[in-house]
């Protein structure tokens, strides 16, 4: 070692690879930032999971199959949630029947037919706006348009139509995404063998995107099931007498109960409710919505893994 020139000795010494103070501080700030952002992400999620767990614990005394199929008793202070559950199913089903075809067609138009011109930009803007209008404004619209102007009265039809218009952007957005995931080459190939635009859509685009479209429809269901404000003034009521376990208690022009509305009612409007009932109602509503959403996510993940292109 001693025979070497000082410069070479220095180069060979491990000292040269010691981090400079600049690098050290750089790495320290990197580590700090990473942990800070991690903490930020986690701090939004963990408390919520704790809260949901807490709700579940509080709901436990009431949670049972009986709670679901039993009707409310003693002025909604005891009993179950059957009429609300069925009412939500009714509302969601009817709004889906209206929103799904319009939404899917609208998305097909926007993705397969529309060019990038001012008119279609206005349509896009309208879709964004429709998604951004506050739910209570949708309620006012439903009241003014369906209940009074169209003379549907306070009914499942009015409420379901309001919900349908409100949730339309959900279907449009996810259907567009599904259509966009079909490669353009598929369409071009189809056109080249002489198919018209619609034939291409029917034979190539839709079969390759149908599961993605289904995801959007599922998301619409979850959104519609959770909404309260739009149905509050258009067709949902505090209480309606229904037989226990009756699957078809409502006609389309009846008013109905709904899970979301029921949660609002039992937690704010009815005094002396049995402690666990509002919690259990919240858990049933939350559970159904999250279950529906999770199935949409599962479908999407499965699809992505299966995709061949």
């Amino acid at each position: 070692m001693t025979s070497l020139a000082p410069g070479i000795e220095a180069a060979a010494s491990p000292k040269l690879f010691v981090k400079t103070s600049h690098v050290v501080s750089k790495e320290r700030s990197e580590k700090f930032a990473k942990w800070l952002f991690f903490a930020m992400a986690v701090s939004m999620i963990v408390p919520l999971i704790v809260i949901l767990g807490y709700l579940l614990v509080r709901a436990a005394p009431s949670l049972s199959w009986e709670f679901l199929v039993e009707v409310p008793k003693k002025g909604m202070r005891e009993g179950g949630i059957w009429p609300a559950f069925i009412g939500t199913l009714n509302l969601v089903g009817m709004s889906l029947a209206v929103a799904a075809p319009i939404g899917v067609f609208a998305a097909i138009y926007l993705h397969e037919y529309a060019k990038d011109n001012w008119f279609n930009r206005i349509i896009n803007l309208a879709v964004i706006n429709l998604a951004g209008v506050p739910s209570i404004v949708h309620a006012l619209f439903g009241l003014g348009a369906f209940v009074y102007a169209a003379r549907f009265g306070y009914s499942i039809i009015s409420a379901a139509l309001t919900l349908a218009i409100m949730t339309l952007p959900v279907i449009i957005a996810s259907t567009r995404e599904a259509l966009a995931s079909v490669p353009a080459a598929f369409r071009q190939a189809c056109w080249n063998v002489g198919a018209t635009r619609w034939q291409t859509i029917r034979a190539v685009v839709l079969p390759n995107s149908i599961s993605g479209i289904l995801t959007g429809v599922i998301l619409q269901v979850s959104r519609a099931a959770g909404e309260t404000a739009p149905i509050m003034f258009t067709g949902a009521v505090f209480f309606k007498a229904v037989q226990r376990g009756d699957w078809f208690p409502y006609g389309p022009t009846d008013q109905c109960m709904a899970l979301s509305m029921h949660l609002y009612t039992v937690s704010t409007q009815v005094p002396n409710v049995k402690e666990s009932i509002p919690y259990a109602t919240a858990i049933v509503l939350l559970g159904s919505v999250l279950l529906v959403n999770a199935s949409a996510i599962a479908l999407r993940v499965w699809l992505r893994n299966r995709k061949k292109w």
Partner: protein
Amino acid sequence: MGADPLNLAADDPSAGIGRAGANGGSGSDGGMTQADGAGGVALSAIRGEVARAQAAKRPQRTRLAVFGERALETTIRLSGMSAIFFVLAIFFFIFREAAPILFSRDFDIVQFLFSPEWYPTSVSNVRYGTLALSIGTLSVTAVAIVLAVPFGLGAAIFVSEFCGPRLKETLKIVIELLAAIPSVVWGFIGLTVMSRLTTTLTDAPVGVNLLNGGVILALMSVPIIVSIGEDALKAVPDAYREAGLALGATRWQIVYRVLVPAARNGLLAAVLLGVGRAVGETMAVLMATGHAVQIPHSLLDSVRTLTANIAAELGEAAAGSDHYRVLFLTGTLLFLITFVVNLTADLVIRGVRRK
């Protein structure tokens, strides 16, 4: 779309010559068999030859099939335009209910906008001042945004830049599920869990107040801010990151020197859409902020927002009464506010795409 389809399977070979042209598919008239303008005449003659030759060998489509296709495409076009129709209809029907009061002689628009006195059911002196409600909305939104923006953008940066693919996938799913929690459930959480927390941690007399509502709204807005913010960061080309790494920058340096400036507009849009959700939220604030119509002086005062006010009072207001119409007028105001917020967010995002 890319190239237009050649019209080889035309319904009628003589009429169907080369409709693939300027009109191919997105004209608003829906007329699909019209021959094109002069520009394509020569070309369409050739196409016509091909079409005729092919059509001779090919089974013709029935009139019914052609008609069905045309009917379907018209339906598709109409559905596409329905969004515009619905937005206009929303404005029309709300404004129609609100208009009589707006143009009536007793109504004072200055009082409506700038008076804090909201006494809609007073016997002696009815006053419809929404200032306290507007300030309620503003203050709850402000609290929510102050809490949600740093956390939301921080979480977006973490998800997009700092975590591995597996964790990223998991976090995105969790965030999506959080976004799906119905607002009435949020309200319920605010009413029960959060309000108890608020009274324990602070010396607030009631747990349902500005702070409580703000926290709940923040939790609700975070998923939106995260997902749109993450999209904005994802839209920054990887070359930017690679260039940063090549210069020896750490990820954090890349984030605040390169990515945040590059994704500025998208992040701003994320914040705006978060604001839009906070302003428009109804059930959660109805249940979580208490019910006092007052201008809040501290974080622990109860407030009422524009949206919650409509939800709380619409049931009591007789259809056609002044009170009812004023509530619709409030709705019109809300519609316009969210319209402006969404329009701005859209323009901001569009600015990103241009680049």
